[in-house]
């Protein structure tokens, strides 16, 4: 139950977090650079946005399939369109002074299998990559289990990735490189418009109406900004803006699960595990990240920021750490979901954020393959939720 206004705000937690965020930001600026502090603060903004708008992928995809309601998925399509409009000119070098890397990865079996596994896992886990982080921040204890096994899965995935990359692949396909950024953007917007139209038609035919992305509230604008809830429209604009800020400041699109593999591998090595044969960590950014402080990694800082930002938003809304009990099925699905998402994200070059949103917004065809394979995995995951008696059969 969401409350609006400051009446239910968890003041001690909110105050502690505000002070903590300021201290961490100042430390990062002093020990590293302004860039590290800024990406951490971008993470805070993402966490606040995700929690206040309850902007998740697993729940909205499940609602589309089970209830034939598509407002959440339509919001994701609009997010992809807006992010593409912001990204394509920059990645297409329309502004040569702005240097940024695109999330372009090979279109192959690795992405196909990885995204399918991820889509399945996010239904069992009850949260996607971003969803897991913001629900952990919201104080949902079960999601801590999902996150722990997400990290395990991502770590194992880094060890196995070279084997998967040896399977058939069409190589990297960048629409921006193939068509030029303007034509590629036009083509992509047409594809997204068609997808949006199909989703709207599907809901209209199923229910006779279409749910709006805005919502009505009697609260004042300021109250809603601080204490929530936010409409999906607000979330789309905020997420696209923060994703652009990430591209310009960090130099790459918003990513999440690289950090999970990094944390797991660092922990495994600290416990005496042998990682010398894990070629994933033997060159480039990955090797640098492994051999540096964890706080030097931008994805880590953003993930920490998302959790703390969501925690702050939940404290402000008075919804932090809700009552919950974890039964046997809930525990098993949390473990399985976390493992599958972690392993799948590594194979698919990212989760729903780094693989799907960053991939499509960078004009990479692997992002579109991620969307199709991830949705197929979600269908199986929805069926398994019925098998595990988490959900009732559809229509029952």
């Amino acid at each position: 139950m969401r409350h609006s206004g400051s009446l239910h705000t968890d003041k001690p937690v909110a105050l502690l977090l505000i002070v903590g965020v300021l201290v961490v930001s100042l430390f990062l600026q002093n020990a590293f650079s302004l860039k590290q502090a800024l990406v951490f603060l971008i993470g805070i903004g993402l966490g606040v946005t995700l929690l206040h708008a309850a902007f998740g992928f697993s729940g909205s995809w499940r609602t589309l399939v089970r209830e034939r309601r598509g407002s959440g998925v339509r919001a994701q399509v609009l997010l992809l369109a807006l992010t593409s409009i912001l990204f394509f000119p920059i990645l297409g070098k329309a502004f040569p002074e702005l240097a940024a890397s695109a999330a372009v990865a090979p279109v192959g079996v690795s992405v196909l299998v990885g995204a399918f596994i991820f889509g399945l896992g996010m239904q069992l886990g009850g949260g996607c990559g971003s969803g897991t982080l913001f629900t952990v921040g919201g104080g949902h204890v079960r999601m801590l289990i999902v996150l722990a096994f997400f990290i395990v899965g991502a770590t194992v995935g880094t060890a196995h990735l070279p084997t998967w990359l040896a399977l058939p692949s069409m190589g990297k396909i960048s629409l921006i490189n193939e068509l030029g950024w303007a034509q590629a953007l036009l083509g992509q917007l047409v594809m997204l418009a068609v997808l949006y139209g199909v989703l709207k038609l599907f809901e209209q035919r199923s229910h006779g109406d279409v749910r709006s992305l805005s919502d009505q509230s009697s609260s004042t604008f300021t109250d809603r900004v601080i204490f929530g809830p936010w409409s999906l429209w607000w979330a789309i604009i905020a997420l696209a803006g923060l994703n652009l800020a990430t591209l310009l400041i960090a130099g790459h699109p918003w990513t999440i699960t690289f950090a999970f593999g990094l944390w797991g591998t660092k922990l495994w090595a600290a416990l005496g595990g042998d990682i010398s044969s894990w070629t994933f960590w033997q060159g480039g950014y990955a090797a640098n990240a492994l051999n540096s402080s964890v706080l030097a990694d931008t994805t880590t800082l953003m993930d920490f920021g998302i959790i703390l930002g969501a925690m702050l938003a939940a404290a402000l809304a008075g919804t932090f750490a809700p009552d919950s009990k974890i039964d046997r099925a809930g525990f098993i699905t949390a473990v399985l979901g976390g493992l599958l998402m972690g392993y799948g994200a590594r194979l698919a070059f990212g989760c729903n954020i780094g693989g799907l949103v960053a991939g499509i917004s960078s004009g990479s065809m692997h992002g579109w393959l991620w969307l199709v394979a991830g949705f197929a995995g979600t269908l199986v995951g929805i069926w398994l939720r019925i098998v595990f008696k988490i959900d009732k059969p559809i229509g029952a």
Binding site: V13, S101, A286, N288, A289, V294, A321
Partner: protein, 60 residues
Amino acid sequence: MEHKYNRWIMGTAVGVAAIAAAVDHTRHSLPTPQANDIVVIEDDSDDSPCSLDTSPCSLD
């Protein structure tokens, strides 16, 4: 009661994560501050998870 219990679990988890990050941070030397008059040419390939020479792009 459950609510209070969950707050303690979350607080403990955040505390453990903070300690782990601090321990990892102290195992690595801090970057050397750069003098203002030195021009540093950075290699993009080591600067982003999306521009790897040895691994495919978008390692998210």
